[in-house]
Amino acid sequence: MIEFLSVYAEHWSAWWPQILPAVGVTLGLTAGAYALSVLLGLGLAVGRLSRVRPVRWFASAYVEVARSVPALAILFLVYFGLVPLGLTLDAFTAGVVGLALCHGAYMGEVFRGGLEALHKGQREAALAVGMTPRDAFRFILLPQATRIVLPPALNMLIVLLRDTSLCYFITTPELMLTARDLTSTYFLPLHLYVLAGAIYFAIAFPLSLATRRISRRMSRGLRQSV
């Protein structure tokens, strides 16, 4: 064990100048894709509940397709597949867009679940007291749905963090690719991949604890309000 750890002490000064920026890229991918997928998810959720049939149809078709295709295939299509059409994205942008296209569909299902869980009377009551449909959504439905949606939506952040590792395939210089590059120089695969895993874990674990805490709090509040 000591022997295993001493390898890190020996190489740390050579590794960290490459590992640290890679962690930054991983976090950037996570944040960018998360923000985009929340927007896309909101659009899809509202679209699936829309009264206009083609909108509803398109939103559910999108969700079904995106849920049946691996994130990796979507990333490849965005990064390599658009080149013949004259659209070349850099590896980071392609990573953010590809991950968001995939996770937006899941996010849409989370949001839809939140909106559908609300009693119909909430909307009817808001309209009855003279709110416009828009105000009813903004001030009555959305705040309540947020509480139902927050735990699974936060959980998606962890899932997304994990999935940024897929950008390894499209050569985004994130953590896995950097670990791989270092391996070809130092021939220490076990140490480097365990290090990469430990870094992911160090980011994900606090998130996981926070998610659990918030879920408990939210469910407590919900039970009281019923």
């Binding site: 049946s68 390599f80 963090l161 991949y193 874990f201």
Partner: protein, 221 residues
């Protein structure tokens, strides 16, 4: 016209190669699903133990596999373990890696399945004279299975999609062949679109099945 037939022939060729990958993908999925169900049952069992230490071990297992990307797990198992003298074939590494990872997911699924049952079920079974083992076998498990079947199906779909990452350790599945084909022909858009369609054709029916099971469960409860 000849241009068109040439293109059709090429697409047929691509599809045939990718289909070979689909067979491997399904094999890996089935193998990993088995490992995941077994390790998931073990995790659920250990987590419902009365020993604090055992429960803590199960928690660590779940959190570690939840927080670390499957790709990193695969690399540790496939490349890392050679460092300590363990060499696995890429398919074995894929089945073990994805399967152990799934154990953490299914462990929680099984736990919530058992937890969803009223404890009166077990008490009643014991009261009418069933042994604890028999109450598990005939009363708790059949009901828990009904509750866990939809999330289990969802997990299987995710697993099938996740097999795409084992291309990184050169297991000859769909994405592996797709990448090979693109380096031969540079037809990236066509090939990756075909690969996506192939995954869709595999996963879509399963997705429909999952939502049917979900509805059936909702009706039963």
């Amino acid at each position: 016209m000849t241009d068109l037939t040439a293109q059709a022939e090429q697409i047929a060729h691509f599809s045939a190669v990718l289909l070979r990958g689909a067979v491997t993908a399904v094999e890996i999925t089935l193998g990993a699903l088995l490992v995941a169900i077994l390790s998931g049952l073990l995790v659920a069992l250990v987590k419902s133990s009365r020993s604090r230490l055992a429960r803590a071990v199960a928690d660590v297992y779940i959190e570690v596999f939840r927080g670390i990307p499957p790709l990193a797990q695969l690399f540790i198992i496939y490349f890392g373990l050679t460092y300590v003298g363990v060499e696995l074939s890429s398919i074995t590494a894929a089945i073990v890696g994805l399967g152990l990872n799934g154990g953490a997911v299914l462990g929680e699924v099984f736990l919530s399945g058992v937890a969803a049952l009223h404890y009166g079920q077990r008490e009643a079974a014991l009261a009418v004279g069933l042994t604890p083992l028999k109450s598990m076998r005939f009363i708790i498990l059949p009901q828990a299975l009904r509750i866990t079947l939809p999330p289990l199906t969802n997990y299987a779909i995710n697993l099938l999609k996740e097999t795409s990452i084992v291309a990184a350790i050169a297991a000859p599945e769909i994405m592996f062949y797709a990448r090979n084909l693109t380096t031969e022909t540079f037809q990236t858009a066509t090939i990756y679109l075909l690969a996506a369609i192939l995954y869709f054709m595999l996963c879509f029916p399963l997705n429909r099945l999952a939502s049917r099971l979900e509805r059936a469960r909702a009706a039963w409860r």
